[in-house]
């Protein structure tokens, strides 16, 4: 289980997230909605532990352990993984070497060809990480890396943005595999938090609950499809007014 309590996060000295509470149970997937600049990416980055995102108060507990003070790599090794929205290009590092690195010190060797086949990226293994990848290829590459990493808490930042209709179905399949959606909920080890702006990914991934974040605060939660319908009908402006 992931428990976030009264979390406040600053970026460059400016408070972006204000006293946020959020819980994800093992086996479940939550969705985070919100307009641009509402703090969704900041929340994910703070859970992951990216150094630029400073937690100034509150706590993050993962599987009963307070991880608020842990470094980025310690959290990754504890089982937290994130698909970046705009990952950097890493020149010189081949995608297949990145997959091996993601696999970490687990026993055996990753079947990089099989992983690449699943993500339809077989021709990309010998290319530098993210170098001259299209938007959709980057998304698939991020999912492929997470499949090698096998995190128990999966953080996905806009996994469907910039992806065409054919590939969004593929991304959906990869997310479901990551989140062990084919297993009964009680047998799953994984949980997920997905940021989505358009909600397209919800056509492919089942999520139990949705949160709405506006101006760095969670202002509501409920059935993700209902939330999406409301946002489409009345927009975030109404939500923002409600928040005030």
């Amino acid at each position: 289980m992931l428990k976030i309590r009264q979390l406040t996060v600053e970026v460059g000295g400016k408070e972006i997230i204000h006293r946020v509470n959020l819980t994800i149970k093992t086996g479940e997937t939550e969705v985070l909605f919100g307009p641009n600049g509402s703090g969704k990416t900041t929340l994910l980055a703070a859970i992951m532990g990216l150094p630029k995102y400073q937690v100034t108060s509150g706590s993050i507990t993962f599987r009963g352990k307070d991880i608020t003070g842990l470094s980025l790599d310690e959290r990754a090794r504890l089982g937290i993984g994130m698909a970046f929205q705009r990952p950097p290009v890493v020149r010189g590092v081949k995608t297949q070497d990145m997959l091996t690195a993601c696999f970490g010190k687990r026993r055996g060797k990753p079947d990089v060809i099989q992983l690449a086949r699943e993500a339809n990226l077989e021709d990309f293994l010998d290319r530098d990480v993210n170098y001259q990848f299209s938007g959709g290829e980057i998304k698939r590459s991020e999912m492929m890396q997470l499949l090698a990493q096998r995190p128990e808490l999966v953080l996905l930042d806009e996994p469907g943005s910039g992806v065409d209709l054919v590939n969004i179905a593929l991304i959906g399949r990869l997310i479901n595999e990551l989140l062990e959606k084919d297993c009964p909920i009680l047998e799953r080890r994984c949980m997920g938090l997905i940021i989505t702006h358009s909600g397209d990914i919800l056509n492919y991934v089942n999520a139990r609950n949705g949160y709405v974040m506006v101006d760095g605060r969670i202002i509501g939660e409920g059935d993700p499809h209902e939330i999406l319908k409301t946002i489409r009908e009345v927009g975030y402006e109404r939500c923002r007014k409600c928040a005030r």
């Binding site: 790599d73 990754a76 993984g81 970046f84 990952p87 890493v90 590092v93 690195a101 993601c102 970490g104």
Partner: protein
């Protein structure tokens, strides 16, 4: 007029001429005389220490089955030369001069004898070195290996090499330069001339491993004829006091191609000024210069120069420098010169430290900061070299990998 005499006269005139680039070296600090070892029929009889040192620069002496030929020069004396493949000649340059009168026509044609006092000294001291030649149409199955080994303190090792790839031939050479000296000074002056005839291909992979007291001044030039290819790779990963080189290739035949790749590292106290130049004088000639420079405290000037003087020539220069957080300086100087409209020359250069976001990205996959840095540095040093035989490519990567721990 006797060209040899003319060369000597020109050398005498240049004997006090400082090099245009790099720190000036006082040649009076070095001696030319060293004990002359006797010829060695079997290089595997060298001491295990010497063999281990040579192995660092890709020279394998115990098992030479995957080499087409071997040449070893100890200080200023050729120790052995052999070839195991028909159509490939490997011998000391002194022996080649006696054997072939026509070699005088090549003497100092690709490098100017009066370029500076270092080239002059090589001529005036009648330097020895290797002569490697592929006869027309012959292709090396395995690379020829040549070792230039410096073992006498304060010695100036003077070397003059000539490589000729006759029409339609293919020659792969691995050239390792190293020393047995520890904490003692020395000077390596190496002149290398390459003549690549019509449709011939030469790959030349030079690995250097010196010590922090050695100064190095290679002087190389190549002339590439129609449809010829010259692929030159250079790796220096170990500390050296001072290195300056700026080899030049002139593509004089249509569609002649030159590619330079270099990977250099400068530890604290090392001063490196390393460049590559290509002059494209014939229609459709091509040049590519790719350099990777990394400093852990030393100073590096990395140069690249491509001149386009004929229609439809193409050139690209890529210069990347990485400063690890231990000081040091990298000065990248990419230069392009065009004299016609119908040419395509480009360059990209970048110097800096490793981007934090790249380290964090790898850390988000579970790597520690040190592992993430090492992965990125390793990737930075990995240069994919098109056209290099797999055995040489492996040797090159092994040499780089073996030095990683010194850098990180």
């Amino acid at each position: 007029m006797c060209p040899m005499k003319s060369n000597r006269d020109r050398a005498r005139t240049a004997s006090g001429k400082s090099a245009a680039l790099g720190k000036d070296i006082d040649l009076a600090d070095y001696t030319d005389s060293a004990e002359e070892p006797s010829a060695l029929a079997d290089p595997s009889r060298l001491s295990s220490r010497d063999k281990k040192q040579m192995l660092q620069v890709g020279i394998t002496l115990d098992d030479r089955d995957d080499r087409s030929g071997t040449f070893i020069q100890l200080d200023n004396t050729p120790l052995c030369s052999s070839t195991s493949q028909p159509g490939i000649e490997v011998m000391a340059i002194s022996q080649a001069r006696e054997k072939y009168d026509w070699l005088a026509d090549y003497w100092w044609q690709a490098v100017a004898v009066d370029a500076d006092k270092y080239t002059a000294r090589v001529e005036l001291n009648r330097a020895n070195g290797y002569f490697i030649r592929a006869l027309p149409g012959y292709k090396t199955i395995y690379p020829v290996q040549s070792a230039l080994y410096l073992s006498t303190p304060r010695l100036a090792q003077n070397v003059h090499n000539i490589v000729i790839a006759e029409e339609g031939s293919e020659l792969h050479i691995i050239n390792g330069c190293t020393t047995s000296l520890v904490g003692q000074s020395g000077l390596h002056l190496g002149v290398s001339e390459f003549y690549i005839k019509k449709g011939a291909r030469v790959t030349f992979t030079m690995l250097h491993s010196w010590n922090p007291e050695i100064a190095v001044r290679p002087r190389s030039g190549a002339i590439v004829e129609e449809d010829g290819l010259f692929l030159s790779n250079y790796v220096l990963m170990k500390p050296v006091r001072s290195l300056q080189m700026n080899p030049i290739t002139r593509c004089v035949g249509e569609r002649a191609t030159v590619r330079y790749n270099s990977v250099i590292a400068a530890a604290k106290g090392s001063s490196l000024d390393v460049g590559s130049r290509a002059v494209l004088d014939a229609r459709g000639a091509k040049a590519e210069i790719i350099s990777r420079a990394i400093t852990t405290g030393g100073n590096i000037t990395t140069r690249g120069y491509i001149a386009g003087n004929a229609p439809e020539v193409k050139g690209h220069l890529e210069c990347r420098g990485l400063i690890l957080n231990k000081g040091g300086m990298i000065y990248a100087i990419p230069e392009l010169k065009g004299t016609l409209a119908d040419i395509d020359l480009s360059h990209e250069a970048a110097v800096g430290k490793i981007a934090e976001e790249e380290i964090e990205y790898l850390m988000a996959r579970g790597l520690t900061p040190a592992e993430a840095t090492a992965t990125i540095v390793r990737g930075f040093l990995k240069v994919d070299i098109e056209g290099l035989p797999p055995s040489l490519s492996t040797k090159l990567q092994q040499a780089i990998k073996a030095s990683e721990k010194d850098i990180l």
